[in-house]
Point group: C2
Chain length 356, copies 2
């Protein structure tokens, strides 16, 4: 077990050494540690090795010039200049929030970025402004469309954060697949099988090997099979890809630059890097914020107090489990898998940073 | 088999007789017949009986005064004045499009409306303006959140339409559940069982009776069970409900006014009618439309030409099957289930309109 502060300082040091500014290193550390606190270790320290490898390959610019390349009062396209995803994402969400202040809503599509960690982090930036925040991104092409065996989409998550009054905010943050890729990695690292309905092998057969992605297999869209609505998951993943990449000119579909070693880097001169999409909607652009938040409290209580099915303890509001974990882990410390500690220490030694 | 024109004229007449204007009756007929053409008969003529019952109960205003109650350059809240959903929805999408023309995007949340038919109709209105169109609505509370047996959400569909260049547009239109309610009705009318994973009984047990909703059962969120991501479907349905109803002041969650006879009408003076949410995003608010549409063609061809799994004929783009059906049915005619014809003829006789 490590304290939040200890891991945050360690993470920040690693990113300072590879050339990030003080502010940027802090942002990366904040996003990664937020994932750990919220129990989403699949998007936490585990990913540092991926980012470090990209940096070593010259695919991460730690001194980026992130610019707006086109804009209207409510929209912008941002070029991330190959920044770490967290840096391009935070700046782009700030732009969306500023536009929402001016004209009610702000929408920013981003190209030339990289993996940004948890989408929820950026959606939650809207909350303190009494705005609804939306964040999505495309990702490593490892998901097969319904009926296909080609891997054309990422797990393409969507996050939506909605402020409430006395209740904690509603924070949905979910992959558009039954399972996030990072969670398959963790199953594999722990020697577990995957439930059927998560992945298929390279020929499209049902499969329970969480490591099948390294052998040409694919993650299925949310819904699993066609009969149970996988075409709806395919629609969702596609919409995320289009808003993140076709709107911005980032790598779409199979052209998302991979952050995992088992996917080849393909060249497509028409597109640039990973794509994200952010939205901010000012509540009082629709109705007085106090009225909305009062009704949102009622919405939350209606759902939280609904009757659980037999054998279930309680009905959850999106964001409940993560928020509860955050309190516990901030107090009791953060557990890091030995295999991740080992990898982090290898990187620390290469960079001349003290081991954890 | 009936021709499109015959059924459209018949439908229009029914709505004229109950007091709609010429324009409004045409809109309702256009939306319902578009569903039939696109093979979504669950949202077509089958629904006229529901609307007619609501009208007889005084819950539909065929001469509505639909107004903007609050707005900013990129947003509005619209009060539908108890209009038929199609009328409030079409006007609200037009407002979203006008706002997008002015400031890049337009977002409209609607209260005091009714069931609006297929969401895809409104999202597709954006296409001719070189905009991405988004439409969603809440609906009869018949979906149980993950872990619950209470019915707190509707099938809450989301539609997203994206223009392309030489390729036909991308049109996703899907319930945030494995199955739409109307499709369960059709299974029941045809005497079929529902696949496991669509519904649960009133105690939360797995169930294959498509008529279980009339006996306290619930539709499951997309994903089916928790292990396969039903909490993601629950998140999606919740986001649709919040944007459609909490933003506008419409009936949220269990307070959506039911359009089916087996759900009781509950009174909640804080909220008004059914809620919808519409968005329009001008492509050239992000990048030149020609560039985008050319890349969208490439996106579509990449997915359409991907390798089908064994036993599958081809990989589809969202909107492909519906568009293909539209061509066939416009030429060959529209089949209407005998039980629906019978019901329509009952209504026609009550209203003094010639039977079909």
């Amino acid at each position: 077990m490590y304290t939040y502060k200890y891991l945050r300082d360690f993470t920040k040091k690693l990113f300072l050494v590879i050339g990030c500014s003080e502010n940027d290193a802090a942002t990366v550390a904040n996003v990664l540690l937020k994932s750990e606190l919220r129990g989403i270790s699949s998007h936490g320290l585990l990913r540092i090795a991926d980012y470090y490898n990209l940096w070593k390959q010259g695919r991460i610019n730690t001194n980026p010039n992130i610019v707006i390349v086109h804009e209207t009062p409510s929209t912008a396209v941002v070029d991330g200049d190959s920044a770490l995803g967290m840096i391009a994402a935070k700046k782009s969400m700030e732009i969306a929030i500023e536009k929402a202040k001016a004209v009610g809503t702000g929408w920013v599509s981003v190209r030339n970025s990289n993996h940004f960690g948890i989408a929820g982090y950026y959606s939650m930036m809207a909350l303190e402004h009494d705005m609804i925040g939306i964040a999505m991104t495309n990702a490593n092409p490892l998901v097969a469309p319904t009926f296909s065996i080609d891997r054309l989409l990422g797990t393409n998550p969507i996050a939506v954060a909605v402020p409430a009054d006395k209740q904690p905010p509603f924070v949905a943050d979910f992959a558009t697949t039954p399972i996030a890729r990072g969670k398959l990695d963790i199953m594999h690292k722990k020697g577990k099988k995957a439930p059927l309905g998560y992945v298929q092998d390279k020929d499209g057969n049902a499969c329970d090997d969480p490591n099948i992605l390294t052998q040409g297999g694919a993650i299925l869209p949310l819904g699993g099979d066609y009969e149970h609505g996988s075409h709806k998951g395919y629609c969702l993943g596609s919409v995320v890809d289009i808003l993140s990449a076709v709107l911005s000119g980032a790598g779409y579909g199979p052209w998302v630059p991979p952050s995992v070693a088992y996917l080849p880097v393909k060249n497509n001169p028409d597109v640039k890097g990973t794509g994200h999409f952010f939205g901010a909607m000012r509540i009082d652009a629709f109705r007085p914020a106090a009225e909305f938040k009062e009704m949102m409290d009622k919405w939350i209580l209606t759902f939280r107090n609904s009757k659980p099915a037999e054998g279930q303890e309680k009905v959850l509001i999106p964001g409940d489990p993560e928020r509860e974990l955050e309190v516990v882990k901030m107090k009791e410390g953060i557990d890091v898998m030995p295999v991740v500690v080992e990898k982090l220490n290898e990187i620390a030694e290469e960079l001349g940073v003290e081991r954890i």
